[in-house]
């Protein structure tokens, strides 16, 4: 009995020491600083942030960027409208328009490290595939952000209002949410995409955003219902704060974790939805370019020209994967129960410190 007792005491004291380490880390830091610190420590999430930022800049600066009367020239020599001559030489198997992208240096018998004339090859009529993929990736990133912003804003507003005011407002808004939830997103996306797809990708993105806020609004509502009963809200009300101030200054900052995490998930879902819709022909339609559209156009030539199929897919996966990992990192960072996993060294330090203290 004595042995067991001694062991359990030791265990609890070690636990206490480990807790002390965890607590020391967050001492004197604001909530925002704690979250930021935790997020920065999430290695996969940080890599993803850099990947996503790099990809976005890379993709958007590659082609001409028009914004109203301003126009910035892209660094890539071709635009999607250009139709250069189809390369017929140097391709294996008598193919035309093969990619010139090479990573193998010259002394190993390769073409040297470089992009070459058409890094991703050329399509059937000779258009530069690199430019097309860049354009498609621009569309996907744009759709992702627009859906995130529109869906996120709407979901937060609807959820906040119904959770805060409850009663009739809540009942009406939640029934409306139920209506929208029953319509599967792919169905609504197809109906919209097929008939308004020719209005451009921005319009499609806006519309998708208008129908993708439902899950988020339910989460936000739940969070608001929980938070509005807490003491600090009562305190604010007693101090004479208006509803608006309570919502924006007191409750919303506390619910922001839930919101940000589900918005990232919404965004990674949006990019897959957009490419899928474009793939079945109900999303972005020709002559506009989308990654899903490119894949659907060239899936049959997989055996002869696989690069036409690989590159758009890589970009979809790279973008969606980064966003998913960022979401995972954010979830961990916002989770109050989340504690850093202590390394063996930390544990040893904790134990010796404790013994020294006794």
């Amino acid at each position: 009995m004595g042995i067991f007792k001694g062991k359990s005491v030791e265990l609890t004291t070690t636990d206490a020491a480990e807790n002390a380490i965890s607590n020391k880390e967050t001492e004197g830091l604001s909530q925002r600083q704690i979250v930021f610190k935790r997020f920065v420590r999430h290695r996969a999430a940080m890599i993803s942030v850099f990947t996503l930022v790099f990809l976005t800049l890379f993709v958007y600066t590659a082609l001409d960027f028009k914004f109203g009367p301003w126009k910035i020239h892209g660094w890539w020599k071709y635009r999607i409208e250009d139709i250069p001559e189809l390369r017929t030489k140097d391709c294996a198997g008598g193919n035309v328009g093969c990619p010139t992208f090479s990573l193998r240096p010259k002394f190993l018998g390769g073409a040297g490290f470089g992009l070459g004339e058409h890094p991703f090859g050329q399509d059937d009529i000779g258009r530069d595939y690199f430019a097309l993929v860049m354009k498609g990736a621009q569309r996907s990133i744009m759709v992702m952000f627009v859906v995130g912003i529109v869906g996120g804003t709407l979901g937060t507003i609807v959820g906040a209002i119904s959770g805060f005011f409850r009663g009739t407002v809540d009942a009406v808004l939640m029934r409306f949410t139920d209506f929208i939830i029953t319509i599967p997103s792919i169905i609504i996306g197809s109906v919209i995409g097929f008939h308004f797809g020719n209005l451009g990708a921005t319009f499609l993105a806006l519309y998708l955003g208008l129908f993708s806020w439902t899950g988020l609004s339910r989460l936000v509502r739940g969070e608001f219902l929980k938070l509005r009963e807490l003491e600090f809200v009562d305190a604010a009300r007693v101090a004479g704060a208006s509803n608006r101030r309570i919502i924006f200054k007191h409750i919303l900052p506390n619910a922001v974790g839930v919101i940000i995490v589900s918005v990232t998930l919404l965004m990674s879902g949006a990019i897959l939805l957009e490419t899928a819709l474009s793939y079945i022909g109900f999303g972005v339609v020709a002559p506009d370019v989308s990654l899903g559209l490119l894949i659907s156009q060239y899936q049959d030539s997989f055996t002869s020209r696989p690069y036409l199929f690989w590159y758009p897919g890589f970009f979809i996966i790279a973008i969606a994967l980064s966003v998913n990992f960022i979401g995972d990192g954010l979830r961990d960072a916002f989770d109050p129960r989340q504690r850093r996993r202590l390394s063996l060294k930390d544990r040893r330090v904790a134990r010796t410190e404790l013994k020294g203290g006794e």
Binding site: I183, S190, I295, F309, I317
Partner: protein
């Protein structure tokens, strides 16, 4: 309870009414079904416009036309559901009746596989939290989460169908592939079982060498063209299954359960040849069902015979063992069909199809050939759908199990001195299943609407095809029928999920909130 269900059903009807109204009007105003005909130069175009307008009542404004459509739907309550006519004059109900079984066949298999694999991997990653295996699985599941299904489908077609078929023409595993495969499976199992460093290396070496030798032996024995298990392998595997199932359900120290399961393996060996007789002379689904029931009954009897105390768990273990062994026998029978299937003119040595839901050239009169054909056509879509939904289950199971493992009752169970196996399988796993069940129900309803892309890639003619046809040709009645079915399924699934939740977790009472 009854009042609660009635109220929920009432709300459900209102929701369906509202969302169908929204979608109907949205779809109706978003385009003109006669547009193609108006610009057409065909002489009969004008006549067609008049006919279509009359048949589809296009002169009625959409909000009112909705109620005409609704009247047909409300026929549901008097036993005559009418979805109206499609553009080409066919009854929509007839089209839907053909499409639903196809879609269900497509998604059922994938859902089951994804659930079983997802839960298993989820549990292992939760038990090995923060291990290398956990990180690797997290990465893999995120990767799968980010894969577009149409992109994966093309890859599967290329590598699992076309290349594999070519491989079957001369089936010997190349050395490079053999090594790669052995190393990967070695790493996988070493990660799953884990332990001290030496043990991990031992497991890795054993699995890698075993896999390599097995693959080599299979190529030498021409197993890939003439596969089969035979009574000996089934018996050996049966003994293994007996140990595995017993370990997971009651623990190996329970000798009566272990013995009963081993007897089931022996019975499997004895009944191998009689079973072949029935497989051959009465090939029918009902025979298979009867045999399955017989196995379960036998399992129950054997379990009862061996168990002295605490009969329930022993009987359950024996029945599970018996069932898995009988599945092996079925698999063996299907493998025996493989060679004749490959030899048929319709298949011509290329058994993995890339498209379609059945081989139309194949003679469907032979039960085993047509069953194998159906299964072969299911393989690629099932893998594609599984890859997509697998990730969600892994993440969800992992998260829930980690939450449960932190609960007080787990600490109590450990403090009582229960074995780790009992704590995990009886206390933690069962509580993890509660939220999982509700997710599964909702997912299953959702996946029927979500198989649209998969159907289109693999050329299946199910609900997804109807749906694309409806959108492409602006067929409002067809579109609404597809929507109505998917939406009803999803709201019903939500209701069932809520009821299940309260049935499984006595702490939650439905209808108590309001």
């Amino acid at each position: 309870m009854f009042a609660y269900i009635m109220r929920r059903l009432g709300i459900l009807l209102v929701i369906l009414f509202g969302s169908s109204f929204i979608l109907y009007n949205l779809a109706a105003i978003s385009g003109d079904p006669l547009e193609g005909l108006r610009t057409s130069s065909e002489p009969s175009a004008k006549q067609q416009i008049i006919t279509l307008t009359r048949e589809l009542q296009l002169n009625v404004p959409p909000p009112l036309r909705y109620f005409i459509w609704l009247r047909g739907i409300l026929g549901l309550f008097v036993g005559h559901l009418d979805f109206g006519n499609a553009r080409n004059g066919q009854q929509v109900s007839g089209l839907v009746q053909h499409a639903i079984p196809v879609t269900i066949r497509l998604v059922t298999m994938a859902t089951i596989v994804a659930i079983v694999l997802g839960i298993t991997v989820g549990i292992v990653t939760a038990l090995r939290q923060y291990s290398r295996f956990d990180y690797a699985m997290t990465f893999v599941s995120f990767l799968m989460y980010s894969l577009p299904v149409f992109w994966v489908a093309v890859l599967l077609k290329q590598y699992l169908a076309i290349r594999f078929n070519t491989f079957l023409a001369n089936p010997s595993v190349p050395l490079g592939w053999n090594i790669a495969f052995s190393v990967v499976s070695g790493i996988f199992w070493a990660g799953v079982i884990s332990g001290s460093r030496t043990r991990v290396f031992q497991i890795f070496a054993a699995v890698a060498v075993g896999t390599g030798a097995l693959l080599e032996a299979l190529s030498l024995l021409k197993w890939f063209t003439h596969p089969g298990l035979g009574p000996i392998v089934i018996f050996g595997a049966g003994i293994g299954i007996a140990y595995g199932v017993t370990q997971l359900s009651v623990g190996l120290h329970n000798k009566s359960a272990l013995r009963a399961s081993q007897v089931m393996a022996l019975l499997g060996l004895i009944s191998y040849y009689p079973a072949q007789y029935f497989f051959k002379h009465s090939p029918h689904v009902s025979t298979l069902l009867l045999m399955a029931l017989l196995t379960l009954g036998l399992g129950a009897a054997v379990g009862r015979f061996f168990a002295k105390i605490d009969r329930g768990p022993v009987v359950r273990t024996t029945m599970i063992t018996g069932f898995v062994i009988s599945l092996l026998m079925l698999l063996d029978r299907l493998m025996q069909t493989w060679a004749p299937y490959m030899a048929t003119d319709a298949v011509n040595g290329r058994p993995v199809p890339t498209i379609g839901q059945a081989n139309s050239l194949l003679d469907q009169s032979d039960f085993w050939l047509s069953t194998l054909d159906t299964l072969m056509h299911l393989i690629l879509p099932t893998i594609a759908l599984t890859l997509i939904s697998f990730a969600g289950y892994v993440r969800f199971t992992r998260g829930t199990l980690l939450d449960v493992l932190n609960a007080d009752y787990i600490r109590t169970a450990r403090a009582k001195g229960l074995t780790e196996r009992t704590v995990i399988m009886r206390h933690a796993f069962r509580n993890t299943l509660i939220p999982l069940t509700t997710i599964i129900v909702v997912d299953f309803a959702g996946i029927i609407g979500g198989a649209i892309i998969t159907e289109s890639v693999f050329g299946w003619v199910g609900m997804g095809t109807l749906f694309r046809q409806a959108i492409g040709s602006f067929d409002l009645n067809l579109l609404m029928a597809v929507f109505f079915i998917t939406a009803s399924l999803s709201v019903l699934a939500n209701l069932i999920a809520d009821l299940l939740y309260s049935a499984l977790d006595p702490r939650i009472r439905v209808g108590a909130g309001k």
